[in-house]
């Protein structure tokens, strides 16, 4: 009885979280362009989607942006995390404090502040400005994913490698990096996803002619969302879902998103770091 209640509760929350996603999938098969009106089943939006240059361009921008920003954040963030392990308490506290700012700050303030900077510098608001903004809010996710991995490293392995004649770089590449890889990768993935889903910061730092899927959708809201947009989202969602399933993603195995989740959940997370 008790477990039945628990199951029901879980199911209700799952419905709550996934009902909108279901709605969007259904809408992608709606014959009518109007969101409020079901006019029969069609798959035509899945065809016209690939002919819609604007949506395809927005998709392209979104993915390139997510990939490049996550990659750069991955490099900068990993280096920073390694450095932070080596820092003394005080320096480390300050660094952690800086890292926490983009995570704790409201998106709207982050977006506005960067827009003010770009304009003050006389920089044209374009792909470059959005990229810088995305890298900035992505780095903390990488740092927070890599730090716990670093803490679990056994320092003597590195020393041993050095004693056996490996150069610092070799020792790092052969011994440290493989151990850090899961943390780095999950940091990258988390950063990628965050960049993909961002609207507010992009909204403030983008210029004319540049649209990500988010900003495109926002302008479309006023005129009625193009059904192709639902089709595209459905494709993206389903492919990620299927691939996860194929790799047995949602199983009881520990860890994958662990570091990732740590970062996501505790935007402000490592306060303990600062206190150490």
């Amino acid at each position: 009885m008790k477990t039945a209640l628990q199951r029901i509760y879980l199911a209700l929350i799952a419905i709550f979280l996934y009902a909108p996603i279901g709605v969007l999938m259904v809408l992608s098969f709606n014959e009518s362009k109007s969101r409020n009106h079901w006019a029969g089943f069609t798959t035509k939006w899945y065809v016209s989607l690939f002919e819609n240059k604007q949506i395809m361009e927005a998709l392209y921008t979104t993915l390139i942006l997510a990939f490049v920003s996550a990659a750069i954040a991955m490099v900068l963030g990993t280096a920073a995390a390694i450095a932070m392990e080596a820092m003394g308490k005080k320096l480390r506290t300050y660094t952690m404090g800086v890292t926490n700012i983009p995570m704790l700050n409201a998106d709207i303030v982050t977006g506005i502040s960067m827009m003010l900077l770009f304009i003050a510098l006389g920089m044209r608001l374009s792909f470059g400005s959005v990229l810088i903004a995305h890298i900035t809010f992505n780095i903390p996710y990488v740092i927070l994913s890599v730090l716990p991995r670093l803490r679990n490293l056994n320092p003597s392995v590195y020393e041993a490698a050095r004693d056996l004649g490996a150069s610092p770089l070799q020792a790092f590449g052969k011994v440290i990096l493989p151990d850090l890889a899961p943390g780095i990768l999950s940091g990258f993935l988390l950063a990628f996803t965050m960049s993909l889903d961002d609207f507010v910061i992009t909204h403030f730092t983008k210029g004319p002619g540049l649209d990500t899927l988010s900003t495109k959708i926002y302008t479309e809201v006023k005129k009625g969302i193009k059904p192709e947009m639902y089709a595209l989202s459905t494709i993206m969602f389903v492919s990620v879902f299927v691939l996860l399933m194929l790799f047995n993603g949602i199983s009881s195995r520990k860890s994958a998103g662990r570091a990732a989740g740590k970062a996501a959940r505790s935007k402000k997370a490592d306060r303990s770091e600062t206190d150490r």
Partner: protein, 273 residues
């Protein structure tokens, strides 16, 4: 790895942060504290007391408080169930965070319009069950729902993590000493998860309070939150000073929030795995 030489590796990151985190925030402070002619002025800070801004701020605080409480009430039992079911945190995170994010957040919020509208999905189901209809679309209720929907995972995860760290032996010991389940909950579980609860509250309250998208999409533009006012100042009125002034007021809330959390979480255990 505790090689002191490694410290230089943080160089690029610190330079980056100074340029793109610290300086931009100082610019907000600068614009918020100056008037259009460039001179120092508190005019845009005090603008928050004008009735229309004050009302927006008050409503934002109220609605985000309500959402935070609802999130907390929904999350706690859920986190307990998840911990007991020994679901791995990895798959939980994918299920709660990563997967839904591949469906754009604006679209997911718009989909709530379809669910909540008068002839929407929920009302169709209700009328099929011969239950009365709910009409909350374009009301504060819909905004609260949107906030809960978007930020619920941010409450679940820290509580889940705090719960999963509790040593099982504590429960056994309590039981052995004669505590019933209510007593165990009040005396052991709850106190030990306070840090998790506090981080959950921070993580929900700030984004909820500062949103302009959710109120825009689900409130029918009848309800202005402080985020909407700021967005309009920047994007429509192009009055950066006014927008920055109000942003500074928001930052006060953010800083207070940070302080509260760090007090509640002095030992720094709460938010960690």
């Amino acid at each position: 790895m505790k090689n002191k030489k490694n410290i230089w590796l943080s160089g690029p990151y610190l330079v980056w942060s100074a340029a793109f985190v610290i300086i931009p925030l100082l610019l907000v402070v600068y614009y918020g504290l100056t008037a259009k002619d460039g001179g120092f002025s508190l005019e845009y800070i005090t603008a928050v007391t004008q009735p229309e801004n004050w009302k927006a701020l008050w409503l934002s605080v109220l609605l985000s408080l309500v959402s935070t409480v609802i999130c907390l009430i929904l999350s706690y039992p859920l986190a307990m169930i998840l911990v007991r079911s020994r679901l791995s945190s990895g798959s939980m995170i994918i299920f709660l965070f990563i997967l839904p994010m591949w469906m754009n957040f604006l679209l997911r919020t718009i989909a709530w319009q379809n669910l909540l509208e008068k002839n929407g999905v929920i009302n169709s189901v209700l009328s099929w069950l011969h239950l009365p209809a709910v009409n909350i679309i374009n009301t504060p209720g819909a905004i609260v729902l949107g906030m809960v929907y978007n930020f619920l995972p941010f409450m679940i995860l820290p509580i889940y993590n705090a719960l999963s760290k509790i040593d099982e032996n504590l429960f056994h010991a309590a039981r052995d000493l004669g505590a019933n389940s209510v007593q165990t909950f009040v005396k052991i579980t709850l106190p030990l998860t306070v840090p998790g609860i506090v981080s959950g509250i921070t993580m929900v309250f700030i984004p909820a309070m500062t949103t302009f998208v959710i109120s825009d999409l689900l409130g029918g533009a009848k309800i202005l939150l402080i985020g909407n006012v700021i967005e309009q100042e920047f994007k429509q009125a192009s009055n950066w000073h006014a927008g920055s002034g109000l942003s500074l007021v928001l930052m006060v809330f953010i800083v207070i929030n940070m302080i509260v959390t760090s007090i509640a979480d002095k030992d720094g255990e709460g938010a960690l795995l």
